[in-house]
């Protein structure tokens, strides 16, 4: 894998890296300032408010970081046609459709609720997949929308965010106060926060993997073609493996919403990855295929 034919978009990954970094910096920095000046309770409220804002504006943030443009049915009639039918088949409101001009073959869904959701595909995925495979990927993303995965993952990560915040700044704050019992109490909160942060990190990742599998499953049943989805998965993860790791690590922030993770190093522990292994996903899809082939009892 020394040479790659893949033309990676360095600017895009850099933008995403910057957005992610800034987002984290805003959380911690703004929260820290507020805690410093007005006490921990208001700080916590503000952190939760920021998490809420991140959820509420999730579609705008994600789409802007991918530089995606919305396409009308006139501009992309085939893509809209497929999504129209899948939405009618799944009985769900149609999300807005976006296309991102990047060779990275991927797709993601975002938005705070099924009524305010967007689905985004990259030009890379449109070029690589057959109509049937693309349909499988789109139904996977629609399943994320129907399952409200953006809201759920935001709520799930908010706890870890809060714990991480207290871990970083709690002790500093406690040390600033010299009451009779203030410092030990703060120390306890700090230790607890570290534990909560570690646990919630693992749980959030586990939840993310679980929801990927459930989206795969819904998609396979919706289209009735688990093999097309499996083939798309193999195609995309194969392509993903050819991309240099350096650029992929910067795209990691968007991973939770991607169809296939852009971070596919073999050594990556299964415990901390946002997506289940391709083998695990293919295994599930083949069991769905077996289910579909069986006659009704």
């Amino acid at each position: 894998m020394a040479k790659t034919r893949f033309r990676s978009d360095g600017g895009l990954t850099a933008r995403m890296g910057v957005v992610t970094f800034l987002l984290g910096a805003v959380y911690v920095g703004f929260g820290a300032v507020l805690v410093y000046y007005s006490g921990p309770v208001l700080g916590i409220v503000i952190v939760i408010a920021l998490a809420w804002a991140q959820w509420y504006f999730s579609d705008k943030l994600a789409l802007a970081s991918m530089r995606a443009r919305e396409v009308t049915p006139e501009q992309a009639p085939e893509l809209h046609g497929v999504i129209d039918r899948l939405c009618a088949l799944a009985d769900m409101p149609k999300p807005r459709v976006h296309i991102a001009d990047t060779d990275l073959p991927n797709a993601f869904a975002t938005g705070r609720s099924p009524q305010h959701s967007s689905i985004c595909v990259t030009t890379g995925i449109l070029q690589r997949l057959s109509a049937e495979e693309l349909e499988g990927v789109l139904s996977h993303e629609l399943a994320h929308v129907a399952n409200r995965d953006v809201a759920i993952m935001t709520v799930a990560s908010a706890l870890g965010l809060l714990a991480g915040f207290i871990t970083r700044w709690g002790l500093y704050f406690g040390g600033g106060r010299r009451d009779s019992n203030g410092a030990p109490a703060m120390l306890v909160i700090w230790v607890v926060s570290i534990v909560v942060y570690a646990i919630s990190f693992l749980l959030t990742r586990a939840l993310s993997r679980y929801r990927e599998l459930s989206a795969d499953r819904s998609a396979a049943y919706l289209t009735g073609k688990p093999s097309a989805l499996a083939s798309a998965l193999v195609k995309i993860s194969g392509d993903m493996g050819r991309i240099p790791t350096k650029d992929l690590r910067q795209a990691e922030a968007m991973n939770a919403f991607f169809f296939a993770p852009a971070f596919s190093r073999d050594s990556l522990s299964a415990l901390i990855s946002t997506h289940p292994s391709t083998e695990r996903r293919l295994q599930q899809l083949s069991s769905v295929a077996a289910d579909l082939g069986r006659p009704m009892q």
Binding site: P73, E74, P77, G81, V82, D84, R85, C87, A88, L89, A90, D91, P93, K94, P114, A131, E132, E135, A143, A146, N147, R148, D149, I152, Y210, R211, S214, A215, R217, S218, Y221, L222, T223, G224, K225, P226, S227, A289, L292, G293, R294, P295, M296
Partner: protein, 190 residues
Amino acid sequence: MGLWDSLLGRHKPVEANLDVLFAVPQAALTLQAGGGFTPLGTGAVCYRANEGAAFSVTQTDVQALLDADGGPAVERSTDSYGFTWLLDRQDPADLSGLVTELHAVNTSLQDNGFGSSLLCSLIGFTAPSGAPLGLVYLYKRGTFYPFAPAGNQQRDNVLELQVRGLIEGDLPVEPELGRWLGLWGAPGLG
């Protein structure tokens, strides 16, 4: 989808109400009297073909069932989106016979566990001007909407809204216009 299902990431199939299909002959009379629309005697069911033997067997059974009446053979075709259409032709005067057959196709697929793969059923009409009009039954919503194609990816909204006004009393019409799926090139549309 409820909150609990969302939390568990479950996909709950929608309960269909196929019996409203039998209200179509009455609506056809209204369309004839109120707008001069005549039924073509064509009806088509659109579904997503699943992979695997169970689906092929069901599909063959359904086709055999429809062909058993001795009329014109059922035509099966696949559209550009990979959806399958079963086109059934009956005497235009016998709309209730047509509706019964469409009902049978829907029920057979549903009873074999493929209800989630059913997209819609379409009944063909002609406007007095000669323009085609499809009365579409959305399986997942249990509602109807008119579809009037006017060339490549265009539709005649005026005609559609006129038809909506006519059939509102007879059939449940899909209230969300965003769900009035475009079905250009559907078989049975004249």
